[in-house]
């Protein structure tokens, strides 16, 4: 029973891992895999001296950093507020609505934002002009495009990300709240002294998981939303590998870029798990 599954994983996951060796070769589709000459670290030297890659790496880190700083705390705040909501019907309705965007593809969400932010009848620019401001070409302006990326990512995933925290609330012993109320603690004090410490391990765990994907700044999102005008601020490792590899067919070099990302991510996850085990006595695995 195991054989088909193992064969699939060997073929579709492990063969490409072996294929990484082309990062150390001058791979040419005509000479083939085995006959392409070994070139050692050449492509990595190119990578580290390339101004292109420096820009791409900077974009990746900046976008990821902004997403973490702004979008990581948001679902925690929303979950805390939902938790204080006593009207169950209202609460469930809100949950149903805010979970929805998670199930839509980036193509749909990207299209939705292009439409909302369009300079050509988009509702946001309509509101801006109504308030006497200049319309903004959100998708063509290097100074605002990153904000578009972060806002749309927040719009899509914040609601859904509350689930983990909402589940964590249910594991807190209700006796603690009762005791706190007896001692005269108000809702704010209960939140600060019981709820937050109660979900702190989950927050830290989610944070560690998030750090592991710091070099994945949202390739699927950016591939839908960006365009050559804003490459300068939005070209990240994932999109760069796609264009250099499949567009310019620079196979060896883009494999090297991909490997660079994979190794760092792998290291971060392993380190994060080790840290979590040490300080929280609880790892991801």
């Amino acid at each position: 029973m195991l054989v088909p599954g193992i064969l699939f994983i060997l073929l579709f996951k492990y063969t490409p891992m072996y294929g990484i060796t082309i990062a150390f070769k001058d791979f040419n589709i005509f000479t083939g895999f085995a006959d392409s000459p070994w070139v050692g670290w050449k492509h990595f030297e190119r990578l580290f001296t390339s101004p292109d890659f420096a820009q791409v790496f900077r974009n990746t880190v900046i976008i990821s950093f902004l997403k973490i700083v702004i979008l990581f705390p948001l679902p925690i705040v929303v979950a805390l507020m939902l938790n204080e909501m006593r009207n169950m019907i209202f609460k469930r309705t809100v949950q149903t609505v805010i979970y929805l965007p998670h199930f839509l593809s980036w193509v749909i969400v990207g299209g939705l934002f292009m439409d909302l932010l369009s300079t050509n009848g988009g509702i946001v620019n309509k509101a801006l002009t109504a308030m006497g401001m200049e319309p903004i070409a959100f998708f063509l302006d290097n100074s605002v495009f990153r904000s578009v990326l972060i806002t749309s990512a927040g719009w899509k995933e914040t609601g859904w990300s509350t689930i983990v925290y909402l589940a964590a609330f249910t594991t807190i012993d209700p006796m603690l709240y009762e005791a706190a109320r007896m001692d005269g603690a108000g809702r704010w004090k209960q939140l600060w002294h019981i709820t937050l410490p109660g979900i702190a391990p989950v927050i830290i765990l989610m944070f560690i998981l998030r750090l592991g994907s710091v070099l994945e700044a949202g390739t699927e999102q950016i591939l839908v939303m960006y365009n050559p005008v804003v490459y300068q601020v939005s070209d990240v490792i994932g999109t760069y590998v796609y264009r250099r590899g499949l567009g310019s067919q620079d196979y060896s070099f883009s494999t090297a870029v991909g490997l660079f990302e994979a190794v760092i991510s792998f290291t971060l996850v392993i380190a994060g798990n080790a840290a979590s085990r040490k300080y929280l006595q609880r790892g991801i695995w």
Binding site: M1, L2, P4, G5, I6, F8, I9, F12, K13, T15, P16, M17, G19, I20, I22, L82, E84, M85, R86, F90, V94, V97, I98, Y99, L100, F103, L104, S105, W106, V107, I108, G110, G111, L112, M114, D115, L116, N120, G121, I123, N125, K126, V164, G186, R187, T219, E220, L223, V224, N227, V241, L246, Y251, S254, G258, A262, F266, V269, I270, W285
Partner: protein, 304 residues
């Protein structure tokens, strides 16, 4: 004495004060969530209005939440467009076939791995889990597909995704939670492994299978990336890829040339209606999605 009474008299007022601030918070909370809900929903309303508005209204930007110059020609146009319909067919085929094959293979793999008596279980699990942490990357995978002659073929859209390790672990954990005795007694009755899986384990695992089936279905329906990498043949482009090209092409005036001048519509309206049509299937199954996805995430986060 008076002094003390005065203090006690203050006490209830203090309580009223906190409850007043709590009331403020409650009101704030309602307002916040109503706004949040509207932020989520209004873009769709706006899109719907645009898809139903007349050409002149859309171009002059007069469309807000209600259609201006109501027309249904856009939907008529999109639903007759052979490219759209074909991509819809491809997406439906992909979702059905992909989900069925993936669910089958993932369950088949999860079952033996849920048995502690399996020799080399830890090692085999490690082989699977390692692929979650490290991968060959885009280019080596693309070259593999090229070698397998899978580029520009329909199966490439689901074959590589068939064993999903995360989903497999969820099913495995569920199997591990089922009582051992059931299997023992089936074995005493002379049932083999396949028989046990089919007639004992599977009927008991319907909730988790439904969850994972939906995971797969949504992933296949929403995936545009795989198609973008491997598919250039318009006959097998799934809807998400078709939509993506539609969005990008609006600036390239591809649509304007193709739209019959007699039709009272715009590229924006066509985009809007196509986006909404692609969203409808998700909305139709959304009640199930919400229910099962929440369960799936919780199972995954507890044990994964």
């Amino acid at each position: 004495m008076d002094h003390k009474q005065a203090l006690e008299g203050l006490q209830p007022r203090g309580v009223i004060k906190t409850s007043f601030s709590e009331k403020c918070f409650t009101v704030f909370n309602y307002v916040f969530f109503i706004l949040l809900g509207l932020t989520t929903l209004l873009p769709f309303v706006n899109l719907l209005a645009k898809s139903l508005s007349s050409e002149s209204a859309v171009i002059s930007g007069r469309v807000g939440l209600l259609p201006v110059g109501l027309q249904f020609e856009t939907y008529h146009y999109v639903l007759q467009d052979s490219m759209f319909l074909n991509s819809l067919k491809v997406s439906i085929a992909l979702t059905v076939i992909g989900t069925a094959c993936s669910l089958f293979l993932t369950t088949l793999t999860a079952y033996p791995l849920s048995k502690v008596r399996l020799r080399g279980r830890k090692g085999i699990l490690l082989i699977f889990v390692f692929t979650m942490l490290f991968s060959g990357g885009l280019i080596p995978t693309y070259l593999l597909m090229q070698n397998l002659n899978l580029v520009n073929s329909f199966p490439v859209l689901f074959l590589p995704a068939m064993v999903n390790v995360y989903n497999m672990l969820i099913i495995k954990n569920y199997f591990e939670g089922l009582p051992e005795e059931l299997e023992e007694s089936a074995k005493l009755d002379g049932a083999g492994n396949v028989r046990i899986l089919m007639s004992v384990m599977l009927p008991l695992s319907l909730p988790v299978l439904a969850t994972i089936g939906l995971f797969f279905a949504v992933a296949f329906w929403n995936d545009y990336f795989t198609a973008m990498i491997y598919i250039s043949d318009p006959a097998i482009k799934p809807m998400q890829l078709y939509l993506k090209e539609l969005l990008v092409s609006s600036s390239g005036d591809f649509l304007k040339d193709n739209i019959d001048a007699a039709i009272n519509t715009t590229p924006q309206s066509i985009q809007a209606s196509s986006i909404l049509l692609a969203t409808i299937p998700i909305l139709l199954v959304y009640p199930f999605l919400q229910k099962y996805f929440v369960k799936g995430v919780l199972v995954g986060s507890v044990k994964g």
